[in-house]
């Protein structure tokens, strides 16, 4: 498997060498049988000679699932525990790393607008995948998701009518363009790129779960370096800082919703 990942990296520049092995192994095995092949070296050969096969593998390996106000309790606690901290800053910078198609980013923007903080906030929303960023900039989400998102929004402590934020159009729910005014969507690879600013908040949920331990540690170095003192780090519901090299550098703001505060 190492050989295959190395070859893919050399040939195409796609770097999966530090992705979590067991699930990588599963997905490679699945691709192997879908291609009607017997061995990983057979798959490697086809990958290198047929870019279409590489395309198929990329689809297998990229997980972009996301939702607006995903895990409503996270956004509820963000309102009650993080917003009061942010009120003390004249200017707020948030890094939303691994933002996928932008649902999480716009959810943050809506929350901050309702709390009266959005005008002095800038959200840097980054992802490795340019295709999801193109979608994110459009702020256009499937209409059939609006029922679920409305429920999430209300469960997260939202007090308006969620439909105030979008217009139903033929192509989907077009969100209020002004929500995007203070968002910068940009490409950034957590595995190789450097820190680019200092932030009060870093939100990186359900991204590092796909990385192996050493890459997780690298990304935690990056976040630690990018957070100002007393800055807040938000992870996905089943992700933990406890097993990383930075465990001692943060206080726990909320254990269930994975909010941590850089303390030292």
């Amino acid at each position: 498997m190492d050989l295959l990942l190395e070859a893919v990296y050399r040939h195409y520049g796609f770097d999966f060498r530090q992705y979590a092995r067991p699930s990588l192994r599963r997905r490679l095995t699945r691709r192997l049988s879908l291609e009607g092949l017997q061995t990983l070296s057979g798959l490697q050969e086809r990958l290198l000679h047929e870019p279409e096969c590489m395309e198929r593998l990329l689809l297998d390996l990229s997980i972009n699932v996301t939702a607006m106000f995903r895990d409503p309790s996270f956004f509820r606690v963000f309102r009650t525990k993080v917003v009061p901290l942010l009120r003390t800053y004249p200017f707020i910078r948030i890094w939303n790393a691994g933002c996928s198609t932008g649902e999480e980013t716009y959810s943050l923007a809506i929350l901050l607008r309702e709390e009266g903080l959005y005008d002095r906030t800038r959200i840097y929303a980054t992802d490795i995948n340019e295709a999801v960023l193109v979608q994110a900039r459009q702020a256009l989400f499937p209409l059939e998701k609006m029922k679920e998102y409305t429920e999430n929004y209300l469960a997260s402590g939202g007090s308006r009518a969620f439909s105030e934020y979008y217009v139903a159009a033929y192509e989907g729910a077009q969100f209020d363009r002004s929500l995007g005014d203070n968002i910068v969507f940009a490409r950034h690879n957590l595995a190789t790129d450097r820190s680019f600013n200092e932030f009060q908040v870093v939100v990186c949920r359900n991204v590092m779960i796909y990385f192996d331990m050493s890459l997780q540690n690298r990304v935690h170095d990056l976040f630690y370096e990018s957070l100002q003192r007393l800055g807040v780090l938000a992870l996905g519901p089943k992700e933990s800082i406890a097993f990383t090299s930075h465990a001692d550098h943060y206080d726990v703001l909320d254990p269930q919703n994975k909010l941590f505060r850089k303390a030292r």
Binding site: M1, D2, L3, A20, R21, P22, S23, R25, R26, R27, L40, I63, V65, N206, M208, I209, Y210, D212, M213, Q216, P237, K238, E239, S240, A242, F243
Partner: protein, 206 residues
Amino acid sequence: MSAADHLVVVGCSWGGLDALSRLLAHVPQDLPAAIVVAQHRMHDASYLAELLARHTDWPVCEAEDKEPISVGHVHLAPPGYHLLIDGHRLALSTEGPVRHSRPSIDVLFESAAEAFTHRVVGVVLTGANSDGARGLVRIVRRGGRAVVQDPATAARRDMPEAALATGVDATVAPLEEIGPLLGQMITSHPQGERSSSHPQGERSST
């Protein structure tokens, strides 16, 4: 907490809460292993850990990504995630459901076989589908052992029957006997083999 040398992976579905409770109540307190459970359940059923903790002195926790696997602990797959074994750690994944299930018992068992080879016991309990059957075959093929709840004693017999229908070499037992059986299987395991192979790290190749 110390890292586990031996792993017991348990899969259950319909009727699983009662079955797990009865199984855990009879596991020897000093079993030198960790127990990792994948149960199909509803999204909001996060109180499973609390309910099970009433039946064992071992700590029972929902797994977090990259958590070390510890002797004398019960680790549960959180609803909506696959739970995999990665070296001596647990790994979570939100990859799509496998044959309609997430967590998938097969996914857990196959990764356990990969990481712990002959130091795994796979246990298939009650359930109304066939998840776990393939995984159990993989465990045995890699030198591990298999235990299947006696279908006659299961709330739903489909899952144990599907596991047995593979022809896998498994010990069949009612719930109350599985704990003691694990004790025998794991303590009677040849000592020499233990040190010869450690859990394969995340860098291992296929």
